[in-house]
């Protein structure tokens, strides 16, 4: 990141940087953060439409909090796979992971198929499996339909 970009968004002492967010997807992540009540009190800094060598334009979000909830990370991997998460400790990057799409999506989504039994029974646990990577497809364990990520991102069980 160039010096003038660093000026655009303040450094944080402790927390997480969500980086390499394709431009436009930052807003989706903000909505996701809003849906996870554990993160409601966290201080956020948001940068949209930075220039990026890899993505052309990218979004960036900094979250000041102790931990990112596991369920939030799983949802995030479905909404914007490929995001880089950097753990910041004492103003320095302590760890870095690239969020891969999950092989198994355990009760994080409701099924987009209106005829699927999971949309008609109370308290059912849903399950989806990654069945194809290019283009990415997930299969509902119950109705066996295949879905693209775009069909799933507004089906998160928050």
């Amino acid at each position: 990141m160039s010096p003038e970009q660093i000026l655009l968004i303040p450094k944080i002492e402790n927390g997480f940087v969500l980086d390499h967010i394709p431009a436009g997807s930052g807003v989706k992540i903000l909505n996701l953060i809003r849906g996870h009540h554990e993160l409601n009190a966290a201080v956020l800094s948001v940068g949209l439409h930075y220039t990026s060598r890899r993505l052309g334009r990218k979004d960036l979000i900094k979250i000041q909090c102790g931990e990112l909830p596991q369920r939030f990370l799983q949802h995030l991997s479905l909404v914007v796979p490929g995001v880089t998460i950097k753990r910041v400790e004492n103003f320095a990057i302590a760890r870095k992971i690239v969020l891969e799409p999950p092989e198994l999506v355990d009760n994080l989504l409701s099924c987009p198929n209106p005829g699927c039994i999971t949309n008609h029974e109370r308290g059912v646990t849903t399950c989806f499996h990654l069945v194809r990577r290019e283009p990415m497809k997930f299969r509902c364990n119950h109705c066996e339909r295949w879905f693209a990520l775009a069909e799933l991102e507004n089906r998160l069980k928050l």
Binding site: N113, G115, C116, E121, C140, E144, R145
Partner: protein, 306 residues
């Protein structure tokens, strides 16, 4: 571990061949011997939507294996109509019986039933999704008619877009060796791309045509399907295609001697009754093979040795 039969997608080629072998063993048994196999066992038959043929076939299969049957054939007057959840119904019925056969209008219902049930569950149709015993009986019929499945030339005819029977049969047959397919359908009812792309790894030989006669000349098996009115979002679309393929004796003029015609039944008018008397008609024996296949399935899932 409890055995269920929920989806043909769960079964490998080996599983499929093992099921065919089970059918053969049942067929080799005397009726008296059969009646000992599941004596004292009770099958719960839960049909949330009517399907007389499938229900009768399961019930006959259970009775011939010496077992007994309880159940309902539509959900109208049951606790279900009063809003009971599927899970609660299963937890209740599993107290009464040793295995459950379920037919349900919602996709995934049988999978859910199997997840909550402590007794084996057999899927007899879950909405537009799966009907695995139909597929197994289709395979068993082919095995009996041709003494093999590998290498057969199979034409799938009619509604290839909405017919789950055809989708499952296509997937199952593609697990065997060198089965060659011809898809015969109107333009608007073609085999969907997602059905073809779901057979990962297997390389299949597929030809598409709109001409039934052309396909017949080049086939060992013609699998006819009914074009079902209820599957069409638009009734005008249904009217346009409903009588596209009608198999009669004239259409069978150039059929190979050994060609067999199958149909999951009930037929409406896609096969003329004059075909019934020809050597090609195999759809009624198919129903008979179906019962035998289901006898084998019941014995296997209930853990009986045959």
């Amino acid at each position: 571990m409890k055995r269920d039969l929920i989806s043909i997608e769960d079964l490998s080629e080996k599983h499929l061949r093992d099921y065919l072998e089970l059918g053969r063993r049942v067929d080799d048994m005397s009726p008296e011997a059969c009646r000992q196999i599941l004596a004292g066992k009770i099958l719960g038959v839960l049909f949330y939507e009517p399907s007389t043929r499938t229900r009768l076939s399961f019930e006959a299969a259970m009775l011939r294996m010496g077992g007994q049957v309880i159940g309902f054939s539509e959900a109208l007057n049951t606790s279900v109509a009063k809003g009971e959840s599927l899970a609660d119904t299963i937890h209740t019925v599993e107290q009464y019986c040793d295995a459950i056969v379920i037919r349900h209008p919602r996709e995934g219902a049988a999978r859910l039933a199997a997840e909550v049930s402590r007794v084996p569950v057999i899927n007899a149709g879950d909405g537009a999704n799966q009907h695995p015993t139909q597929t197994l009986l289709d395979l068993y019929t082919l095995q009996n008619l041709f003494a093999r499945i590998d290498g057969l030339r199979v034409s799938l005819v009619g509604d290839l877009k909405y017919s789950r029977t055809v989708h499952s049969l296509f997937h199952a047959l593609s697990k065997f060796k060198d089965v060659r397919f011809t898809f015969v359908s109107p333009e608007t009812l073609k085999m969907p791309e997602y059905v073809i792309e779901a057979i990962e790894g297997a390389k299949v030989d597929v030809k598409e045509t709109t001409s039934l006669e052309e396909a017949i000349a080049d086939s060992d098996v013609v699998y006819m399907t009914r074009i079902q009115r209820e599957r069409f979002p638009d009734p005008i679309e249904y009217e346009k295609v409903k009588d596209t393929y009608r198999l009669d004796c004239a259409a069978l003029r150039n059929a190979p001697e050994h060609l067999k015609v199958l149909h999951p039944l009930p037929r409406v008018n896609e096969i003329a009754t004059e075909v019934d008397a020809t050597r090609h008609a195999a759809y009624f024996p198919q129903a008979g093979y179906g019962m035998i296949m289901r006898q084998g399935i019941l014995a296997h899932l209930l853990g009986a040795k045959i």
